[in-house]
């Protein structure tokens, strides 16, 4: 018997009962659709973290004063009197050989005013090595220099979103703006980097020399930094080496004995943080995927149910086919072909359906969703497996029929 003939018969058999076939396939469509859509949410989150990690630059390390990591990162420390100073950052930069670049980060915020426009801005005070640490280039103008930092110059480098919103087409370079009622000058525009994971738009960045932020915006008498961002050299084991050396160095500078368990700073690197976050999303993806897979299995049971009904209804047809020379194996193949055809068609429609759902979720909920080729292949393959698994028993039942009894069946 020819393969094309089996497919043709299966197609004919499914077409005979279009409504029933469609409803049976709906189970698989919803199952596959759910897997695709839900996994796309999980994978979207994963992709976002990866993207964000790349956007943050490679080989990036952090030093936080005290242990503020758990309470919302560096921003939680802005009101606290941290113990990390600019001098600590310079010491790390100069005395730890595997550190290639370093910048203190001091955060503040304020209303940014240009002519009649104004907007609220989160201001980051950074050092002149910031573009190196973050692998972040300028689109226009220049970054501030060590001299600007030294002189606490009132200069700003802004992200492209600020340019679009505040300047509305005017070339921002050299423009005077006001920040907390102090005059500043725009000297550079950053390249676009996009959203970060916590909903903060990196394109809305407003950068000023950290000394300016400390003294002129925050009015600190004893300058403190919220965190230090460091870049290690590109070398195997650089993070571990850097962490050990920084630990020794800062303990010495802060007068903490090496045996004390809790120093007044903490260290972390981006890879570590990103990996931890990614682990969580992997677990989430798996969980969402498994829940959706249950729908797919229920769809498979639907196929089995309908195939069993179909075998009973078509007992006589099976008898005729056997009488004219169909081997039991051909009957089994034919019914299997029908269930697989349903599960594959359902799977294909489900992929489209799931893709659309994930698109809609992305559009309306503003969630990052990502349909990967892997999730399509896995859910499609799973649908096919469901078709084989749940189609086998009815097909086997049909093949086992006795031609004489089947021909006599009313």
């Amino acid at each position: 018997m020819r393969f094309a003939a089996i497919l043709k018969i299966a197609f004919w058999a499914l077409g005979r009962n279009k409504m029933r076939s469609a409803l049976t396939m709906l189970g698989i469509i919803i199952g596959v659709g759910a897997v695709i859509a839900l996994v796309s949410i999980g994978q979207g989150a994963q992709a976002l973290i990866r993207e964000q990690m790349a956007a943050m630059g490679t080989n990036v390390m952090y030093v936080w004063p005290q242990d503020v990591r758990g309470t919302g990162g560096a921003r939680g420390a802005s009101n606290e009197q941290g113990t990390l100073s600019d001098a600590d950052v310079f010491a790390i930069r100069n005395e730890v050989p595997v550190i290639a670049a370093a910048t203190p980060i001091v955060t503040s915020n304020g209303q940014l005013v240009f002519k009649n426009n104004n907007m609220r801005a989160n201001i980051q005070g950074v050092g002149e090595e910031f573009p190196i640490v973050r692998d972040w280039n300028l689109m226009a103008g220049t970054f501030f220099t060590a001299a600007d930092v030294e002189s606490r110059a009132r200069v700003l480098v802004v992200g492209p979103a600020i340019v679009a919103e505040l300047f509305e087409g005017v070339d921002p370079i050299g423009q005077a703006v006001r920040l907390r009622n102090q005059p500043f000058e725009i000297i550079g525009v950053l390249e676009s980097k996009g959203q970060t994971g916590v909903g903060q738009d990196q394109d809305e960045a407003v950068l000023a020399p950290y000394t300016t932020v400390q003294r002129k915006l925050l009015g600190q008498v004893l300058p403190r930094v919220n965190q230090a961002m460091l870049k290690t050299v590109d070398q195997e084991g650089a993070f571990i080496l850097a962490e050990r050396m920084i630990d020794v160095l800062l303990r010495e500078r802060h007068g903490i004995p090496p045996e004390a368990e809790q120093p007044d700073f903490s260290l972390g690197n981006l890879t570590e943080i990103a990996n931890a976050a990614e682990q969580q999303t992997v677990v989430m993806t798996l969980m969402l995927g498994s829940i959706a897979a249950i729908a797919l299995i229920v769809g498979g049971i639907g196929i089995m149910n309908i195939m069993l009904v179909s075998v009973t209804e078509r007992t006589r047809e099976i008898g005729i086919r056997m009488a004219v020379g169909s081997r039991p194996g051909y009957i089994r193949l034919q019914f299997l072909a029908e269930s697989i055809m349903m599960s594959l068609t359902g799977g294909a429609v489900g992929v489209i359906f799931g893709g659309l759902c994930s698109l809609l979720i992305g559009q309306f909920l503003q969630w990052n969703t990502w349909v990967s080729a892997m999730s399509v292949m896995i859910s499609f393959g799973f649908a096919a497996a469901v078709g084989v698994f749940f189609g086998f028993y009815p097909a086997h039942k049909a093949a086992k029929l006795d031609p004489i009894d089947a021909l006599r069946y009313e």
Binding site: R2, E317, G319, A323, G325, P328, G329, L407
Partner: protein, 274 residues
């Protein structure tokens, strides 16, 4: 008592007929069904030879074993004991898959209830045995159309079974039976669901197939006049052959048709059976 003596004569005749040319050769075929503790002996040692080109009518009351016999001859069932040669091959212990292939190649079935696949055109119904023989689609369509032409339905290729009359449906079934050029055509009460005129028309088809194409036909019927279109009659009773005789005064369907009035109403049709 009469049955026993008849059986004795039938058995004594057998060996002379077991020629090498026999399409069908049954040697002491037994078939026993077990229904719980009860044994039902459907066939009790049937021996029979049918040569190529024969046209045999099998008759007998219900329960005489003629259906069981047809199932075995048609390779739908195994005998419990005995050997069965179909077209020179011992098929008595063939596997299910082999039996399917043998049916496909050697046997053409015509049933009382037509047994066409519903919602499938006449052409596709006739193509069915070739589907399982692995014939290419184009060749299938050509041969199916040819077979339908033989039974006089070349204008109904695309019709579905429910768009055809009973006689036409049975013709489709005959076309399906002969399309793989089988060794035998087995017809199980083929006229049971048809009126007289249609029955005779069908007998004309069978006679033509037998005479013009030398097709071996075995036909089960309980109607004496239908059996008279055959060349030989075998009578079954209680699982044995009790009578086996050539038909004398054989009917010619074409001639009978000519003598039948063109249009009959229902009462006449019922009368026409006699």
């Amino acid at each position: 008592m009469i049955g026993i003596s008849l059986e004795a004569t039938a058995a004594s005749r057998r060996p002379s007929e077991l020629t090498q040319d026999a399409v069908i050769r049954l040697d002491h075929i037994h078939k026993t069904y077990y229904m719980g503790d009860i044994e039902v002996h459907a066939l009790r040692g049937v021996s029979l030879g049918v040569g190529r080109g024969e046209y045999v009518a099998i008759m007998g009351p219900s329960g005489s074993g003629k259906s069981t016999m047809m199932n075995i001859v048609g390779c739908l069932d195994h005998p419990t004991r005995g050997t069965y040669y179909l077209d020179g091959r011992d098929v008595s212990q063939a596997s299910k898959a082999d039996l399917a292939d043998i049916r496909n190649e050697k046997v053409g079935f015509v049933f009382q209830s037509f047994n066409l696949v519903s919602r499938t055109s006449a052409l596709e119904n006739v193509e069915l045995p070739m589907v399982y023989a692995g014939v290419r689609a184009k060749e299938r369509a050509r041969r199916a159309a040819e077979a339908l032409e033989i039974v006089g339905l070349s204008d109904k290729l695309r019709n579905l079974p429910n768009q055809l009359s009973g006689g036409q449906q049975q013709r489709v079934a005959i076309a399906r039976a002969l399309v793989n050029n089988p060794a035998i055509i087995l017809a199980d009460e083929p006229t049971g669901a048809l009126d007289t005129r249609t029955s005779v028309e069908l007998m004309e088809v069978f006679q033509k197939l037998n005479e013009e194409r030398n097709m071996t036909i075995i036909l089960v019927t309980h109607e004496i006049d239908i059996s008279e279109y055959a060349k030989r009659v075998i009578l079954f009773r209680d699982g044995r052959i009790v009578k086996d005789y050539p038909v004398t005064g054989r009917r010619n369907a074409t001639q009978v048709l000519r003598e039948l009035p063109e249009e009959e109403d229902e009462e006449d049709e019922a009368e026409g059976q006699k």
